[in-house]
């Protein structure tokens, strides 16, 4: 049994020293499994996350905002793709991961199970949801698994415009007509608490957290990230002249951070369990796209096979050079 303990201990020392783990390296099975779950969940979140925003592309109120929103949602598709690619280095396939998403076996960020009901939601999502995601992502740029951290670096570079785009929309609405201001406040009211829930339950209730931290695939606790997010976002809301829907929110001078109200974890767990406002619609949309696309993918594969056959028979019948 001693050799196993040596391997795991050696691995732990290796990642503790901030070394990168690459696809061919030995790794504990738990590390590999956790990564596949975490990376694929992240990928699924990007893909499902396209839907609430894609909902408003055809109704974007200006040509410039139409282009910006379309580009943003396209970026999310790209991010999903980078992440599926990173996960594939660990011995799973995109098809397997997608099957798990559609069957409900795999999870994705619960925030995307909420509906987008106004243009201001485009602002709120960019500002709050992307804002929260960025915090998580910056930390993951230093994750111990090479392909994951490199995908995150690429994602972070592209992400910077997403949050700015959202905040710009909020700013524009907050300085607009009374109806636009009300629209912005209403969006903030609906997206604030779900955004805080994005960071997940308190780490005391997160059994995997400690192991993930040791393996350097998680670098800050859920509560730490959530606190950072609140502290960063409160002044941004103040600048907009909007009020955060939390009566218990106040500055704590002693701790140098904001106190905030308790999160309704019943809502979080209900949404995670599949009973949020849009869970079934989101999965159904993805299942439908995949099912309806099957004949297209098959056609492309069939054509590629035919072309390959033609090329090899052409090569075979080529007259020999003199």
């Amino acid at each position: 049994m001693a050799p196993t303990i040596d391997m795991e201990a050696r691995f732990l020392d290796y990642v503790t020293a901030e070394n990168k783990v690459e696809p061919k390296d030995w790794m504990p099975e738990g590390y590999r499994k956790t990564l596949v779950r975490q990376i694929s969940q992240h990928a699924h979140s990007e893909i499902v996350g396209m839907l609430p925003e894609a909902n408003w592309i055809t109704r974007a109120p200006s040509l410039r905002s139409k282009l910006i929103l379309l580009a943003k949602v396209q970026d999310e598709a790209g991010h999903g793709l980078y992440l599926y690619s990173a996960a594939e280095t660990l011995g799973t396939s995109r098809d397997e991961m997608i099957a798990d998403l559609h069957s409900g076996k795999a999870k994705y960020s619960s925030i995307f199970n909420y509906p987008t009901l106004s243009w201001a939601d485009m602002g709120a999502i960019g500002w709050l949801v992307d804002g929260a995601a960025i915090q998580n992502q910056v930390m993951l740029c230093r994750a111990s698994y090479g392909p994951y951290s490199r995908a995150m670096v690429r994602i972070c570079k592209e992400e910077s415009f997403h949050q700015r785009q959202g905040y710009e929309i909020m700013l524009h609405l907050a300085k607009g007509t009374q109806e636009q201001k009300d629209m912005a406040q209403d969006a903030l009211n609906r997206w604030w608490w779900p955004s805080l829930m994005m960071f997940g339950p308190s780490d005391d209730n997160s059994p995997n957290s400690a192991q993930s931290m040791a393996w350097r695939i998680k670098r800050k606790s859920n509560d730490e990230l959530r606190q950072e997010f609140v502290d960063k976002t409160v002044p941004q809301a103040k600048f907009l002249g909007l009020s955060i829907p939390d009566a218990d929110l106040r500055w704590n001078e002693a701790l140098g951070q904001h106190d905030f109200g308790s999160i309704d974890w019943n809502e979080f767990f209900a949404v995670v369990a599949g009973n949020g406002p849009c869970n079934s619609e989101r999965i159904e949309a993805r299942r439908k796209a995949h099912a309806e696309g099957a004949w297209v993918r098959e056609a492309a594969s069939a054509y590629a096979a035919k072309q390959a056959a033609r090329r090899s028979s052409a090569a075979a019948t080529k007259p020999q050079a003199a």
Binding site: A54, P61, S62, R64, L81, G293, W295, V296
Partner: protein, 254 residues
């Protein structure tokens, strides 16, 4: 604003912009629903290019019309009777075969049209066409490659693209029938006499269909006048959705 009292040269810009906007808008509907992630990204790129092209035409038109006109006033505040796109581009997406059939037939025309506009003595207009040619060439390659893949793929894809081409074929004649807007543009040397584009277009189409193991559809043509603002019933619903927000809040800036 009485859009039909604009100078015909400006109306031509609106016609060009409308084709790009409506087609780009249709393609953007695929975002999040494509047959595979990679193609979702590709379709979004096509939509971005087309809406971007529309903006250039509209911005030029707005500058020339003056009177405080903006690209958004042109896109969001004209009714469907003032839109001058071909009825072809407003047709619903249908399945991927329908979308690529529509795209393929329009892209071949678009390429020929832009090559002619690039020669226009109107320097600003020519510049837009010149810039658009590279991405339009890419777009035409993309759509024709998909037609070939579907035509020479599986039995199912072959019958789907065949059916799709048959459905959309009756909308193509309008491309080559001058209406007032493109007739005057041709007289002024701004754009091509579209009647002269039919043969080269047919040649491009035939070449691709041959590779795709498909035959030229033999469907009667519809009598269409989209370029004169008489559209199919699809455009009204498209614009109702697209224009809904500014129209719901007319005193707001977006």
């Amino acid at each position: 604003m009485k859009w039909d009292t604009c100078d015909p040269s400006e109306q031509y810009l609106l016609h060009l912009g409308d084709d790009a906007l409506i087609l780009g808008h249709r393609l953007s509907e695929w975002c999040g629903h494509g047959p595979i992630l990679e193609e979702d990204i590709a379709l979004s790129n096509l939509a971005l290019d087309l809406v971007g092209l529309a903006r250039q035409y509209y911005q030029l038109a707005a500058k020339r019309i003056g009177l405080g006109t903006t690209e958004d006033r042109l896109a969001y505040w004209r009714g469907e009777r003032d839109f001058k796109n071909h009825v072809l581009v407003e047709q619903p997406n249908g399945d991927f075969a329908d979308t690529m059939a529509r795209q393929f037939l329009f892209d071949a025309f678009h390429l020929l049209q832009l090559e002619a506009i690039e020669q226009s003595p109107d320097a600003d207009l020519a510049a837009i066409a010149r810039k658009a040619l590279k991405e339009t060439t890419y777009r035409a390659q993309h759509s024709s490659e998909w037609v070939v893949r579907m035509g020479d793929g599986t039995d199912e894809s072959h019958s789907r693209i065949n059916a799709a081409l048959k459905r959309i074929w009756p909308f193509t004649d309008e491309l080559f029938q001058p209406a007032e807007v493109d007739r005057i543009a041709a007289e002024r040397g701004l754009g091509p006499d579209v009647r002269t584009l039919r043969e080269p277009w047919l040649e491009l189409i035939r070449e691709v269909l041959a590779k795709a193991q498909l035959s030229l559809p033999d469907m009667p043509q519809k009598l269409l006048r989209g370029k004169s603002g008489v559209h199919s019933e699809s455009l009204g619903f498209l614009l109702a959705e697209m224009q809904s927000l500014p129209r719901a809040y007319p005193d707001a800036q977006w």
